[in-house]
C-alpha cells in the first residue's frame, strides 16, 4: 500500500468543506491509477474506523468528509459556546420526507398528502437549501416542481437517494406497531 498516497487523501478530505467525491479525487490525482486510489482510500477508512479516534470519515452525498463523533457533541458545544443545533419542525420534516419519496412533486400534491397547506414549509426548506425548484409541471397552471437537493443528502448523512429508508423497512415498522397495539 502506498503510504504517501494515503496521506495525500487524508489531507484532501481534511481540507474539503463538502463531501469529497471520488470523481474530484481522480481529477486532482489524475496521474494515479484508479485501483491504487481505491486501495489507499480503503486503507485510510480502515485507519479511521478505529474506536480511539476523535474524528471520523463519513460517506455522505457521494463523497467523503471528516466529522467529529456524536458522543463528543457536548464538549464541542462547550468549546464553541453554542447551543444544541435545532432540528427541523415536524411540519417541515413531514413536507421534506414527502418530497424525498415523491419527487418531482408540486406544492398542491404535497398539501394533498399532508392534508394541510404546505407553502410555509416550502419556504423554510428552500431557505435551508434542502430542496430546490427544478422547473414546472405540464398541468393546468403550470405549477412549480420541487426536488431534494445535494444538501438534503448531506443533512441526513445519506450517500444517495437510494439510501432513503425503503418501503419494506417502513412496512415492517408499521406491522410491528400494529402488533404492539393489539
Amino acid at each position: 500500500m502506498n503510504e504517501q498516497l494515503k496521506a495525500i487523501l487524508e489531507a484532501l478530505i481534511f481540507i474539503s468543506q463538502e463531501p469529497l467525491t471520488l470523481n474530484k479525487i481522480k481529477e486532482v490525482l489524475e496521474e494515479v491509477p484508479e485501483d491504487e486510489l481505491q486501495a489507499a482510500l480503503e486503507a485510510l477508512l480502515a485507519d479511521y474506523a478505529a474506536d480511539s479516534r476523535g474524528i471520523q470519515v463519513i460517506q455522505s452525498a457521494g463523497g467523503y468528509l471528516f466529522t467529529t463523533k456524536p458522543e463528543h457533541d457536548q464538549w464541542i458545544r462547550r468549546l464553541l459556546q453554542i447551543e444544541k443545533k435545532t432540528k427541523l419542525s415536524s411540519a417541515a420534516l413531514e413536507t421534506l420526507s414527502i418530497i424525498a419519496y415523491h419527487q418531482p412533486i408540486t406544492q398542491a400534491e404535497i398539501s394533498a398528502i399532508r392534508g394541510v397547506d404546505s407553502t410555509y414549509c416550502l419556504k423554510t426548506l428552500l431557505q435551508k437549501k434542502l430542496i430546490k425548484i427544478v422547473g414546472r409541471k405540464k398541468a393546468p397552471g403550470n405549477p412549480l416542481v420541487y426536488r431534494t437537493s445535494e444538501r438534503f443528502l448531506q443533512y441526513f448523512g445519506l450517500n444517495s437517494l437510494e439510501d432513503l429508508p425503503r418501503e419494506e423497512e417502513i412496512a415492517k415498522i408499521l406491522e410491528e406497531e400494529k402488533q404492539a397495539i393489539s
Binding site: 481534511f14 481540507i15 468543506q17 471520523q56 463519513i58 468528509l65 471528516f66 466529522t67 467529529t68 463523533k69 456524536p70 458522543e71 463528543h72 457533541d73 464541542i76 444544541k84 443545533k85 435545532t86 432540528k87 427541523l88 419542525s89 415536524s90 411540519a91 420534516l93 413531514e94 421534506l96 420526507s97 414527502i98 424525498a100 419519496y101 398528502i113 399532508r114 392534508g115 394541510v116 397547506d117 443533512y155 441526513f156 448523512g157 445519506l158 432513503l164 429508508p165 418501503e167 423497512e169 417502513i170 415498522i173 408499521l174 406497531e177 404492539a180 397495539i181 393489539s182
Partner: protein
C-alpha cells in the same frame, strides 16, 4: 418549549399509550400537524383497524376535538373542517340502505383509508429521518478553511457590499441594545485605523471581523473600523469572506498577484 409541543403528535403516533394519549382531554388541537394526524391519533387510541374504521365513532371523537376549541381559526383550521365534512359525508353514505353486499371498491371509506395509509407511511419515514438528523446534528463539520489554504485562491463566497452593510446594521442594532451609544471624545482617523487593521492582519493572518468590531472601545472606533473594512475591500487590499449569511466575516490580506492566474487545466 415550543419544540417539544411540536414533537408530541409524532411520538404519540409511534408510541401508543403515551402519557398524553391516556388523558385525552389534555391533548389540544394545536399539537396536531393536520387533520390526518388527528385522525391517526384517534384510530390508534381506540386500537382500531385502519381498514375497517367504525366511521360513526371516529366522526364523533373527531368532532369532539374540534368542539373543544372555543374559536375556529379559519386560516389555520379550515383543513380540519374539510376532513370533518368528509367524515360526515362518508357516514351518510354508510347509512344508505344497500341493495346488495357492497363491493369493497365501493366502500365509501376507501378514499379516506388510502389517504391515511399513505400518511402513515410518511410518519414512519419522518421518524426514521429524524433519527438520522439527530445523529448528524451531533457531528460537527469544519465550516472554515484550514490555515494552509490560501484564501485568495479559495474565495468561497465573496461577500457583497450588501451583505457587509446588512451585517453592519445588525451589529449596530445589537450595540444599541447593549446601551453603548455613548460616543466618547478621542478622534480616530481612518488612516490610523486602516494601518492598525492591516498590521493586525499581517501579524495574525486573518481576522474575525465581528469580533474585531465588538472589541473596539467606542462606537465611533467601531464605526471607523467598519468604513476601513469597506475601503480595504474596495481597493482590493483585503478579501472578505462570509461562509454563510449572518455568520462572521473573515478578512484576509490579499497577496499581490505576481503572475496572471493560470488555470491548471480547463
Amino acid at each position: 418549549m415550543e419544540q417539544e409541543i411540536q414533537e408530541l403528535p409524532e411520538s404519540q403516533v409511534l408510541t401508543p399509550g403515551s402519557p398524553v394519549s391516556n388523558d385525552g382531554y389534555q391533548v389540544r388541537l394545536e399539537i396536531f400537524e393536520g387533520p390526518l394526524d388527528l385522525l391517526l391519533f384517534l384510530i390508534r387510541k381506540k386500537k382500531i383497524d385502519i381498514h375497517d374504521i367504525p366511521i360513526a365513532v371516529i366522526t364523533r371523537d373527531y368532532l369532539e376535538y374540534l368542539e373543544r376549541k372555543e374559536q375556529i381559526n379559519l386560516d389555520r383550521e379550515a383543513e380540519f373542517l374539510l376532513i370533518a365534512a368528509l367524515l360526515i359525508y362518508i357516514k351518510s353514505q354508510m347509512l344508505l340502505p344497500r341493495e346488495q353486499e357492497a363491493l369493497q371498491a365501493d366502500d365509501p371509506r376507501q378514499i379516506l383509508v388510502d389517504r391515511l395509509l399513505e400518511f402513515q407511511k410518511v410518519k414512519v419515514a419522518c421518524s426514521l429521518l429524524r433519527e438520522k438528523e439527530e445523529d448528524q446534528l451531533l457531528r460537527w463539520k469544519r465550516t472554515f478553511l484550514p490555515p494552509v489554504a490560501r484564501p485568495e485562491e479559495a474565495e468561497l463566497l465573496e461577500v457583497s457590499l450588501y451583505d457587509l452593510a446588512e451585517t453592519f446594521f445588525l451589529l449596530m442594532k445589537k450595540r444599541e441594545r447593549e446601551n453603548l451609544q455613548v460616543i466618547r471624545g478621542k478622534d480616530v482617523s481612518v488612516e490610523e485605523k486602516m494601518k492598525e487593521m492591516v498590521g493586525y492582519l499581517k501579524s495574525r493572518g486573518s481576522m474575525d471581523f465581528l469580533e474585531y468590531f465588538s472589541s473596539q472601545e467606542t462606537l465611533e472606533e467601531a464605526l471607523v473600523s467598519f468604513f476601513c473594512l469597506l475601503e480595504l475591500v474596495k481597493n482590493h487590499l483585503v478579501v472578505a469572506v462570509q461562509e454563510q449569511l449572518f455568520q462572521t466575516i473573515r478578512v484576509w490580506l490579499r497577496r499581490p498577484r505576481t503572475q496572471p492566474h493560470g488555470h491548471s487545466h480547463e
